[in-house]
Symmetry: C2
Subunit: 450 residues, 2 copies
Amino acid sequence: MINTLLLPELREMLAEQNAAEMSEFCNSLHPARIAEFMEGLTAEECWQVLQHADANRRAEIISYFDRDKQVELVGTQDRDQVAELLSDLPPDDRVDMLDEVHNDVVDDLLSRMPTEDRRDIMRLRQYPEGTAGSVMTTEFAKLRESLTVREALAEIGRQAGQLETIYYLYIVDEDDHLRGLVSARQLVASMSKPDKKLSDLMETDLISANVMEDQEQVAHKVARLDLLAIPVVDQEYRMLGIVTHDDVLDVMREEATEDAHRFGAVDPLDESYLKTQILTLCWKRGVWLGLLFFFALLTAFALEAYDERLETWVWLVPFIPLVISSGGNSGSQSATLIITALTQKHITLGDWARVVRRELMMGLILGGSLALFGFGVAALFAPSLRDATVIPITLLLVVLTGTLSGSLLPLIFKRFGLDPAMMSNPFVAGIVDILGILIYLNVALLILNP
Amino acid sequence: MINTLLLPELREMLAEQNAAEMSEFCNSLHPARIAEFMEGLTAEECWQVLQHADANRRAEIISYFDRDKQVELVGTQDRDQVAELLSDLPPDDRVDMLDEVHNDVVDDLLSRMPTEDRRDIMRLRQYPEGTAGSVMTTEFAKLRESLTVREALAEIGRQAGQLETIYYLYIVDEDDHLRGLVSARQLVASMSKPDKKLSDLMETDLISANVMEDQEQVAHKVARLDLLAIPVVDQEYRMLGIVTHDDVLDVMREEATEDAHRFGAVDPLDESYLKTQILTLCWKRGVWLGLLFFFALLTAFALEAYDERLETWVWLVPFIPLVISSGGNSGSQSATLIITALTQKHITLGDWARVVRRELMMGLILGGSLALFGFGVAALFAPSLRDATVIPITLLLVVLTGTLSGSLLPLIFKRFGLDPAMMSNPFVAGIVDILGILIYLNVALLILNP
């Protein structure tokens, strides 16, 4: 869905080298819109157009480009200019970008950057993926508690130009230990008392994140408390950076995708679908597919064991898929409901008895309804109505097995400290398949073999 | 996971009616922590403790309670005090709360509130669920463009006490038409030019949302542009409120859960699992379970049609679940990958040829591997090695069918303007099941019946 509305005009400006129009284009609209209009241009063309924006605006527009185009720009354009651009980008964004650029290029670019920026990038690059440190930015408003409201406002006025955000002002001591927090709102609301000290204004019971903490945990903290940003500290409570609300949104989205992949029996991808290599994808699918194949093999062996019976009761065979899918589907429904309720903290382990009661009820209602239909169909194929009862009885039992395993397995996983999303739907379905076949064959033995 | 750490102490304070300690508890910690420590108390007990906090703090703490406890408080405690509390809560939160309270109680509470708050609540309650209007708050910083930086700062200082957030200051004309936006950061950074007019400072190319716009669309706008809030306007571009980053996070989470439910063949729930009535849950599951049952019936009829053949080739029967699950699982893997890539905009419809090529490749690799294993097992059961080839050939074809249907069906849905998540995995699996059985039987006919 590339926005091609202004593409002809942009290409014309470029062909004519019309500096006035390109400069106007770069400065007229919201940077995000400008980035959108440039989606159809090559990285090279974008770079040429952006020559007509001032450095700050250029950085802002580029920050809305998609990651591929950013990486291409960084990798191919004039190194000195790119180094300058990197200095203007938010610290967390540029580190993410450089992660995808060849190391030689990164080294060259770093050597062209001011010492402070270079150190900052190298520091951020050292935090392992998935930690708070890997998503934090190092630009935040930092003040001393001895300042008055008036002094603080003046200081923030000076810092504001360089900062992405000033909604929270962090109070640190001379060794950068985090001491407290004043919101911009509080500061502005206190302007009528300009001599008040920040130490009297600041909140000291702070919610913070450790730099090595799992990014998902950090995201949940921020979300639960509706924070705009959370301070990131080291073991000594020295303030290193902040994780902002937009990074939290990204983490949440990443996590939702990972869960969706697990639900679909795919090991979560590290990159987007098209960027992941086919063999990597095959591996991430193959592991699960292999496991589920193994489950299905067990089902095959179970059926094999009843080979001779099936030869006599061949009318049972067409119902095998019906039995299996009824159990598997009701099982994955229950697993989905319970896993999402667990991750959203709508239920806890303590609710297990209530969950089981509800799933039992639902199993009876849903299984009962399928059993009714199933009996109707079975009556057409079975030698007698009595024989036909195998199907409804099996369906009821299999759906019950599905709802109970689907709800209990995630709870059991959770109980043992494992991620319940690991107990993905197809896994539940695989287990319910085997149980379903065993139930089917045994019900048949009981009823047909008196 | 109720936090019971301070529960005994709190109960003791209540028994002793120790006002000093309760007041200290209410004012000592972050409101979110206080709410956490009170999780184990009843609504009645919470209310008693909170009598010792001032009105603002009380509202802040209560805003971190879970919805059930909030609703219970509102429904059971002293009406005048509750009305006062509601006036102190953010406009969007209190409307959400009142949505779950009985209408008689709401009317009574409204009659006890100041006219302005009452009108505000009644206005917000009229927007249908799922619209921008239903999640917006009406508290935002509003300024005239004729103000200077100095005047604006003073004005914001006055408004800040009432406002949740002041990171964006909205510039409106006398009829509340949205004219522009100044960020708090810009304002503070311009303090050195106190006589500059807001009209010279403000950004005028604004991203806004219509009050009736779908909340998911609004959330995506905010997320894509890393905004802290988005202004909500009516048809005449009159500013009505803002949707803030925390509401966006909630919308995103809601949406992720809906998608997860669809993936698991459950119609998305309107409420949490435990709060949804059993019969509603049965309905939301039954619709899909019934549809999938119907698919499985088709499979049964297909098998029934080959009844006599199966009697001769009874060794084929145990492999039925294996064939079905291999196709279904590889199909739902592909569907999951393509649906998540589509919702994340990692692929567009234009990529269909690339997607098909990739899925074809993966189908060959994964299907080929399963075929190898399958051949080994089939060799044990089949009358001859030649006969055994039915299994690997079927497995390869079925997995290919799975990957191709799993990837193409969501793309086709999208092409016709439908939500690709509707093409949920079990639906794909249902279709692949039938195709799988047909492939199996026809491969068998070809090879075993020369």
